[in-house]
């Protein structure tokens, strides 16, 4: 026995003597994970979270989360002798007088953008493939929670430097709090320790940003991953892949190397961005002053949609009985986002109600095979994209020589018109893709090779698919619509009432699809002209 093997054996023995975990460890070290590029999106999120923890810890060693006034004396000449908050001054100190400080600040900010973008991409993957279905609804809910908290965490993070741009963002957040009916001005005064901006907000959100929210993230991510582990990963359909198995590679050594390596790749790419791509150059904005502002004030992209919604809101306020309700803030700032996130969180339950599907699902859907869900997803994306465009209307206006008014009216109308159009078009595209699949299975793949027959007729050669390809294109379940019970046993007409009718209508829309070709159809065709 080699020395290294003996040591490994001793370590394993030591652990097992004290935990009895040998069997559990053996099973879990060889746990099988399926391979697909889209499964790496969630990994990117996890890794950028670790990068955020590491780079964020580095930044806290120098950052001074305080709004006490100081006179800047650092090495950045243009701001010398200017009065500013300690948090802005210490951010300048990190950027100019701590070696590698600017690099770490930029890595931290880029990692935050990658964290958010990764979550959104991962969420889209899970949505469009139906991975949220039973038994994974809980993980979907945790995911929606993580996205929501991620938006808050990112906003608090870029608010900490207390520069002119971020202070403007806080000003807007304060206006949203202040707009809440009845309790608004009280909550605002409690949050800010008095009139805006006060001297306590930055230290308070610092604690939330570095302790409270990261702690919640850590807990939620742990549960998220434990559930993935326990429930085993979903897999894409294909030959040999069923609802009853997982086909892939073992954790040890393949995924330890691949996932471990991928962590370093994500970190490397983030560090490269931090090295070459300037982000949030706070020294150009100056310290926050509520009487000043810079043109082209833009939040980070994951807040942009919210800002776009606020920008397009019609100017409506109610003034009655000595009170004011700002619909122009409440509707775009709280009500619509609240509805959006609630619908997103409830979607797995809504879909299972619509389809009546209560089965476990471990094989993913190809998005085309569930046209209604894919169309709902595309519609939601279209909505977000339109309002995101409006969030950047000032930048777009200057870059494309348009007026803000044109963009505003385009998006105000577009936000109502474009999503339903997207729904219809997406659904049609999905059905067309299903037809194309059917064609391919029954008539083979178009090769583009033209052949002239002896009697002069030109035909295109079609190549028959392999059995594996045919199976992959036809394996999906095709559910039938739920029927409205016309009358129950006692002769009562439609006992479920409007709810039942509605459910049947939704269910009908949801199952609309092209019948998957069957082997008998293929055989019948073979007997025919081929």
């Amino acid at each position: 026995m080699k020395k290294s093997e003996r040591i490994a054996g001793n370590v394993a023995g030591y652990v097992d003597d004290r935990t009895g975990a040998a069997k559990w460890l053996r099973k879990n070290l060889t746990k099988v994970f399926p391979d697909h590029w889209s499964f790496m999106l969630g990994e990117i999120v996890l890794y950028s979270f670790i990068i955020l923890l590491l780079s964020g810890t580095f930044l806290t060693f120098w950052f001074d989360p305080s709004q006490r006034d100081v006179i800047y004396q650092g090495s950045y000449e243009p701001l010398k002798n200017i009065e500013m908050s300690a948090s802005y001054a210490s951010t300048l100190h990190i950027s100019f007088d701590v070696r590698g400080g600017l690099l770490m600040r930029q890595i931290h900010h880029w990692a935050a953008l990658i964290f958010m973008a990764g979550m959104i991409a991962h969420l889209m993957r899970v949505f469009f493939t139906g991975a949220f279905r039973k038994p994974r609804e809980a993980n979907w809910l945790i995911g929606v929670g993580l996205v929501t908290l991620g938006i808050v965490e990112g906003f608090l993070g870029y608010s900490l430097p207390d520069d002119l741009l971020s202070g403007t963002g806080i000003r807007i957040a304060e206006a949203i709090i202040q707009a809440l009916p009845v309790v608004g001005s009280y909550l605002a005064f409690f949050a800010f320790g008095g009139a805006f901006p006060g001297h306590v907000f930055i230290p308070r959100i610092f604690t939330v940003h570095v302790l409270l929210l990261p702690g919640i993230f850590l807990a939620l991510i742990t549960i998220h991953l434990m559930l993935v582990w326990y429930q085993k990963h979903t897999q894409y359909p294909g030959p040999g892949r069923t609802e009853k198995n997982v086909v892939g590679y073992p954790l040890m050594p393949i995924y330890m190397a691949k996932a471990g390596g991928f962590f370093f790749i994500v970190f490397g790419v983030t560090a490269l961005l931090g090295a070459v791509a300037s982000i949030n150059p706070i020294w150009l904005y100056g310290p926050y002053n509520p009487g000043q502002i810079s043109a082209g004030s833009q939040p980070d992209f994951y807040m942009g949609w919210l800002d776009g919604l606020v920008r397009m809101a019609p100017p409506i306020e109610t003034h009655a009985f000595g009170h004011t309700i700002s619909w122009n803030i409440l509707i775009p700032g709280l009500i619509i986002p609240g509805i959006l996130f609630t619908l997103m969180a409830l979607y797995p339950f809504i879909e299972s109600w619509m389809t009546g599907d209560k089965n476990e699902h471990h094989l993913l859907d190809r998005p085309r095979n569930n046209p209604n869900r894919t169309a709902i997803g595309a519609m939601s994306l279209a909505f977000i994209l339109v309002i995101l465009i409006n969030g950047g209307n000032d930048i777009i206006a200057t870059h494309f020589a348009l007026t803000i008014n044109q963009i505003m009216w385009f998006t105000r109308i577009g936000v109502i018109v474009i999503p339903p159009i997207t729904f219809v078009i997406t659904k049609r595209i999905c059905l067309s893709l299903q037809r194309a699949d059917r064609e391919k299975v029954l008539h083979g793949r178009e090769t583009g090779r033209l052949v002239m027959l002896p009697h002069g007729e030109f035909i295109e050669v079609h190549e028959e698919l392999t059995p594996a390809q045919k199976f992959t294109l036809t394996q999906h379940e095709q559910n039938r619509a739920l029927e409205v019970p016309a009358s129950d046993a006692n002769g009562v007409l439609n006992p479920q009432g409007l709810k039942g009718k509605l459910r049947a209508r939704f269910s009908q829309a949801h199952v609309e699809q092209i019948p998957a070709p069957t082997e008998s159809e293929a055989k019948a065709l073979e007997g025919g002209h081929h």
Binding site: A175, Q178, F190, V247, I254, G268, L272, F471
Partner: protein
């Protein structure tokens, strides 16, 4: 259903295809060397990073296309760190793809649902244990426990009270009083009408009394924008016109929508634009909202000239400045 029966059959996992590194020892050795080279490259870049940290001064800039003036210290430190990490990652992945076994493994999955008797057993256990505690029978305990738990959450909530003072009339008040001089920001110099040419804009604040300090919270409510037009360009009613002085009109600079500084003035159109959400106000018509989400005009400050010829406020603002809130009465 006939459809089910005649579905295309699952042909099963395709036969495993061996990689070149599985059958050719030379190819495997080559892959091993490639992985090793990647790891060595990583180590070299770590040296680059540490060298840059120690030896490149952090005030040296050089020009790079696209990036412009670039700090050599920051760039090389970052690139060293980035590639050191990247090459470790690439090496690990290359190792896994080339040399580790790539035979697909099948693991069985089991339905999560427990057998019916286990479920029934669980439910009955819960019932028995709950019954042992008397939860069902002793409703007095249940209710009082619920009360105690529910009400105990109030203490921490109440203890948040000292986060800040009550708003009282704070949001209605600004530092502007009858006769308060308008002073420049920055500079704190009083202004005479002749200091402003037609078409000019100035940001002003109320003059501070001796020994008084100006806080950011003050600026957040007091900031005023002074604009001078030709008196004939105004389309104001008699009262609002009397609040101007010789073509000079004053508005709160704090947006009536969400409180950003309304700082963009278009001289040609005489529009004020808020850069946050593009609310647009017409200066000639008392800052009437002509576009965007703001629902109210910017509050106008009545101004006049005092006996020394300086601009002063005729009276405090007649309405609250800044964004709306529940208690706002107009």
């Amino acid at each position: 259903m006939t459809n089910e029966i005649s579905k295309f059959q699952d042909p099963g996992l395709p036969e495993h295809v061996h990689r070149k590194t599985d059958i050719d020892p030379k190819a495997a050795d080559r892959a091993e060397r490639q992985v090793a080279i990647l790891f060595v490259l990583s180590a070299i870049f770590t040296v680059v990073a540490i060298y840059s940290y120690i030896f490149i001064p952090d005030d040296r800039f050089f020009f790079l296309p696209i990036m412009g003036d670039t700090n050599a210290h920051q760039l090389l430190l970052g690139i060293g760190m980035a590639f050191a990490l990247l090459f470790i990652g690439l090496g690990l992945v290359h190792w896994a793809k080339m040399l580790m076994p790539d035979t697909e493994v099948i693991a069985e999955r089991h339905e999560f649902r427990s057998p019916d008797e286990d479920r029934a057993d669980f439910v009955s256990t819960v019932k028995v244990q709950a019954g042992a505690a008397g939860l069902g029978r002793r409703s007095l305990i249940k209710r009082t426990l619920g009360l105690a738990l529910g009400i105990s959450a109030l203490t921490p909530l109440v203890m948040l009270r000292d986060l800040g003072p009550l708003p009282k009339k704070e949001l209605e008040k600004t530092s502007w009083k009858t006769g308060t001089r308008l002073v420049t920001d920055p500079g704190d110099r009083p202004i005479r009408p002749e200091d402003l040419e037609v078409g000019a804009v100035a940001q002003v604040l109320p003059e501070l009394a001796e020994g008084q300090e100006r806080t950011l919270a003050d600026i957040g409510k007091d900031a005023v924008l002074l604009i001078r037009l030709r008196p004939t360009e105004f389309q104001l009613d008699a009262q609002r016109l009397s609040w101007t002085h010789d073509g000079i009109i004053a508005f709160s600079k704090i947006c009536s929508h969400m409180g950003c500084a309304v700082a963009l003035y278009e001289q040609q159109t005489k529009h004020l634009l808020c850069p946050c959400h593009q609310s647009t106000f017409d200066v000639t018509r008392a800052a009437k909202v002509i576009f965007g989400p703001a629902a109210r005009p910017l509050p106008q400050l009545a101004i006049m000239v005092d006996k020394d010829g300086y601009l002063v406020a005729q009276q405090p603002f007649t309405e609250s400045v800044g964004p709306s809130y529940w208690e706002r009465s107009s």
